[in-house]
Structure formats: C-alpha cells, structure tokens
Symmetry: D2
Subunit: 116 residues, 4 copies
C-alpha cells in the first residue's frame, strides 16, 4: 500500500520547516548584532530549535514510528527558544517574529507527540 | 550592522524547504510503492534533491558567500529529480506534484545562482 | 570561559558519526539489493538511526543542554536499527557490520543519556 | 547488483565527517570566546564548511552521481575555513587543529572532485 500521511501531520511538518528557517535567519541576525544577542546560551537555543524542527519535519514526512518522540522533544526546544527570544526584548522585530513562530510550532508538535 | 536578507532570497529559501518536504514525502511514497518507483536511481535523485534544497535554504538564510554556488548545484539536482519523477508517468499525483515543485524550485535557484 | 567538551562526549560523537556513515551506506546497499532488504520498515529504521546519530553528535559537540535527551532517543533508534539488520540474517557482511556499529553506538549514547 | 563504494571514497567520507565534527566544536568554542573569534564572517566560514562536509559525506556514501560536484564545492569551503582559522593565530590549539583538519579534508575532496 502506498505511503500516506495525514493533512495534520503534513501541516505540522510545514510549521517545523518554517520554524527552522526563522531560527536560522534569527541566529545569523543575533550573531551580527553581537552583545547579549550573541550570548552562547541564546545562540545555542536557536541551534537546538532549528535542528530539532528539521528532524521532526523529516520524521513526520517519512511517517517514522519515532515521530511522536521527536515531536515531543522538538516542542520542548521550541519553547526554550521562544523564552530566550522573549528575554531579548520585544522591540526587535526578528526576535518577536521568532518567538511567535516557535510558540506556534511548539503547540503543533505537542499535539503530534500525543498522537504517537 | 544587523544581518538582513532580501525578500527574494527568503522566498527562494521557502521554495527550497517546500521542495525538500515534497521530495522526502515522495521518497517514502516511492519506497512503499516498490517496483520501478523504488529504483535506486530514482530514490537517489530524490535524496540528492532533498539534501541540496535543505543546504541551499540554509546558505541563503545565513547569507553565506557561497550561496550562489550551492543554489546552482541545487537547481541542477531539482531538474534531475523532476526528470526522474516525470519518467514515472503523470498519472500518479505525488509524482506530478513533486515534478512541478522541483521545476519551480530549480527556476528560483537558478536566478539566485546568477546573483552571486 | 572557553567552550570545552569531555573526551567521553567527543568519543560518543565520533561513534555517532561513524554509525551515521554506516547506516547511510547500508541503506544504499539495501535499496540496491531490493527484495526484503528494501522493505520500507527496514529502510525507515536505517533512516531514523542515521538522522538521530547525526543530531546527537551535533548536540554533544555543541554541549547543548538537551544532549542527554537526544542521546536517549538516539540509543533507542540504534537498537531498533540493529534489530532490523540482524533480522536480515548475518550472512551479509554489510548487515552484520551495521548491526554491530549500531549496538556500540547505542551503548555509548545510553551512557551519555544518563549523564544529563 | 549490490551497491559498493571504493575504499578511497569511504575514506574521504570519514575525513569529511571528522572535519564536520571539528568545525561544529570549533564554532561553539569561538562563540564562547567572543571578540574576533565570534566575528560573523569567521563563524559563517565554519558553518559553511561543516554543512558542506556533511553533505559531501552523504553524497559519497550513497554513491550519488553528483558527488564530485559536491566534493569540489566542499574543498573550496574547507580551504576558506582553514584560512579563517589561521587568521585567528596559531596559539589557540582548537584553531590550529581545525585549520589542519580542513586542509586535509580539502585535499581529499579535491581528489574526489577530479574523479567525477
């Protein structure tokens, strides 16, 4: 039988890849800003989130048996990244956009983690 | 000065990540179909395209100096993947959608490769 | 203070990248073999293991706070992949080498998961 | 016929994954050092090299038709990264180790690029 994934799962994968893109761009932005934006803990939170978003998307698109575990871990990394971006202040558009994208992705991944 | 990428580049990165997602899903579909859909050359073309799309997106989102070279190579992989999907016949929706997504991504990446 | 990782963690990252390489090569081998070697569940187990090995290595090399969680998940994927390779029979050198590499990586990752 | 890669190609893939690991660790080291080590151009050179090394290894391990193109691009990124590490001064062990690893990987990838 042909491989098929639900619309809900494909939508979560899209949110994950969008979050991946936002985190990579935000990381380059923060690196160029310097100062507290380039704090290793903040850049690390962005890297953790980007990589787990990409991994979660891949596991969902392949309908892997392990996708719910990976989504659960991804949701955690998304929330940590959103916290870190919010702590930088919301007067920076990139930081605000990244935090919002991460929260939305976290919510979707948490739902997927429950459907394991 | 803060890192900034053009809307055109961000749009190309989005097309690349969309093409990545389509190729990964299509590869799982073809693997489950078996027969000529699971031909190593076809699955290899899908893998080449997926990986270079993801790499090209990453290089654009980071404004890497090498992004135009990577985009040029990605465009090539996208066209090869579209050719391979088209050779499977267009009565399969997944194959048709993948070929179209790859062509559109190839066009955008070729434009980026010219702006190096 | 400069970033530093323990020799034990760097060693585990090396095992993970070695396991990644073995799984990618084994997956290409199984795809070309066809038959039960190209079963979607077996190829999926190899993909799961390869991707989580690469992710775990990356998290350890960056000393991410989440490395122990990722290592725990990686150990699980390594054991599943070893089981799948062993079920293909041990008269195939590639399958035997892959199973052994996965078991060794699983053991190392499990130790890392405990040091969270 | 079963998929097989030459010992030379597998060895180059191993050098690439070793260079990937060194660049990721070096990037975390430089980020934590701050100052000129955290210069966006230097961190970018490390990221470019790490990603293309991983990509090149993957393409070789799958015997992709495009492996020689990817290896050529990887060799370029390795040399740029080595240049950047050397410009930081050779009194830093991590920088010295990274530059040497990149040069060795560049040489091996250049040889592979010629065998396309």
């Amino acid at each position: 039988m042909a491989h098929q994934i639900s619309d809900e799962m494909r939508e979560c994968a899209t949110l994950c890849l969008n979050c991946y893109a936002t985190c990579i761009e935000c990381k380059a932005h923060c690196t160029s800003m310097g100062g507290r934006h380039a704090d290793p803990a903040h850049l690390g939170a962005l890297a953790d989130c980007a990589i787990l978003c990409e991994t979660a998307a891949n596991f969902m698109l392949r309908s892997s048996d392990l996708h719910s575990d990976v989504c659960g871990m991804c949701a955690d990394a998304c929330d940590r990244c959103a916290d870190s971006c919010e702590s930088m202040g919301t007067d920076d558009d990139m930081m605000k956009r990244c935090a919002e994208t991460c929260r939305r992705c976290a919510e979707s991944c948490r739902a997927m983690a429950g459907f394991g």
